[in-house]
């Protein structure tokens, strides 16, 4: 670890999760340091989004713990966790803007509901957050009127509303064209420089991962196979990592005979 003296911002310890009988995460342990940008990389269905959802208690693990600033968040009362939640912002894959509210109301919602601020102050703060993500002048638009990239930016402005210390991104570039996706990446870099936030990004976009990451975690089938700096990951000898980095499709080396046998022997 980079700095053994400091307490990790987020510590995941031996986490196991099931959806019904299917195991999604298999004894996952991970430490994320304050101010660090950690990218969790992996293919679809490797459990990376589930891991992210555990960090804000959207899922309850079968066993194991998630510590945020040293506090076990999986087993604390709702009330107490709500206090910690205020310090965590999350951008969802679909941006998750409330469709019945304008962009301005979306960003203002946490401020209105969780703080005692006056309405004019809230309006100013909302505008600052929207400026920060490069979205001025769309306050009165409904989410349905925005493009995919603008939705992501508005969702990010809402995640930033409470000035979080931790920012979680679920597939920030999913469904965006390369230019817009690069725009989101540079926005993440800007936030990292400006606020020294702890940032966790789940993605399968290699290009974006190597641009924004301080460290990268590679996941495969519910397990972490490599954690390291971008350089270390690039030079990793692990076959799965190399397969992922070189974009080799699954199942090229399938045994033809076994395949034919499996076809003829199915119970018809």
């Amino acid at each position: 670890m980079a700095n053994d003296a400091a307490e990790p911002m987020i510590r995941v310890a031996d986490l196991v999760t099931h959806y019904d009988e299917r195991r999604i995460l298999n004894h996952v342990s991970l430490e994320i340091m304050p101010g660090e940008t950690m990218v969790i990389l992996g293919g679809s269905g490797t459990g990376k989004s589930t891991l992210l959802r555990h960090m804000t208690r959207l899922e309850i693990p079968t066993s194991g713990h998630v510590y945020i600033k040293g506090q076990d968040v999986c087993h604390m009362p709702e009330e107490q966790f709500n206090q910690i939640r205020r310090k965590i912002g999350m951008l969802f894959q679909s941006a998750a803007l409330f469709n019945s509210m304008t962009v301005q109301e979306n960003v203002a919602l946490p401020l209105r509901e969780l703080t005692q601020l006056e309405e004019p102050t809230i309006r100013i703060m909302t505008r600052i957050k929207l400026d920060l993500v490069g979205l001025s002048g769309v306050e009165r638009f409904m989410p349905a009127q925005l493009s995919g990239g603008m939705k992501k930016r508005a969702g990010l402005a809402r995640a930033l509303a409470m000035d979080p210390e931790i920012l979680l991104f679920d597939e920030p570039s999913a469904g965006l064209d390369p230019i817009t996706a690069a725009g989101i990446d540079s926005l993440i870099l800007k936030l990292k420089m400006a606020f020294r936030m702890t940032i966790v990004v789940v993605t399968h976009e290699l290009a974006s991962a190597f641009v924004i990451a301080d460290r990268i975690t590679v996941m495969h089938e519910g397990e972490i196979i490599v954690v390291g700096t971008p350089e270390e990951v690039r030079n990793s000898r692990h076959p799965r990592v190399q397969q992922f980095l070189n974009r080799v499709p699954e199942g090229n080396e399938r045994d033809v005979k076994a395949y034919l046998r499996s076809l003829t022997e199915s119970g018809f």
Binding site: L58, R85, A96, L114
Partner: protein
Amino acid sequence: MTGVLAFIGRNTRSLFRYASGLYELSAKTAFWAFVAPFKGRGLKWGSALHQMVLVGYNAVPIVSLIAFFIGMVLAFQGAYQLEKFGASYFVAALVGVSMTRELGPLITAIVIAGRSGSAFAAELGTMKVSEEIDALEVMGLNSVKYLVVPKYLAMLIMMPCLTLLADLAGILGGASFGLYQLEQTFSMYVLATRDALVMRDISTGLVKSVVFGLTITTVGCYQGFAVEGGAEGVGKATTSSVVMSIFLVIVADVLFTALFYYTG
């Protein structure tokens, strides 16, 4: 044989899971509606008012029209039998009592289950699919408080109002038959209805309507929260919310009617 047992077991288990899910949601809703506000945790009156317009005010035309026709049909069917005994005078009593005790609340509940219960399931289901419910939770905003309680309060207040309206419309429907077929005057019909009705007829109907309204809200919201997997899931939840809430409304109707019968 084991297949049959497994089938029964699986279904029983999912039935219990459904029932406990409904119970859990209604307990949480009741907490956020009646306990939390007195602990200074607030209530979303604005959204509750908005919901009242949606479930109550906007349903006025369709509920009264359907109840009017039902009242009329009831008068036709009643007269068909009563005429044989020369007792056409009692059509007004028949319509009045059956509308207020039974059909007013029931018809209202069925219309509202189709109109609002399904809308609740579709709205919450869509929010679930588009991660909006997760987004609320991540902000530390309780989804029951923000999304269910306003609907719950709106139903609690609007169902009795709509039911009273349905009672009235049904009686008017019966009266329209009385005027043309039985050659009664309007005031005669109204007097005959008034003689037949007691306060208890109306109040038991209103008690039922509150129970029906809360059942519809809980089922609709529960189905919405339970949505998995995209647009198809939302469609399924919407359908089953209507089927399930009509079924549970009728079960509750049986229980309450029996209760009122034996305590009456």
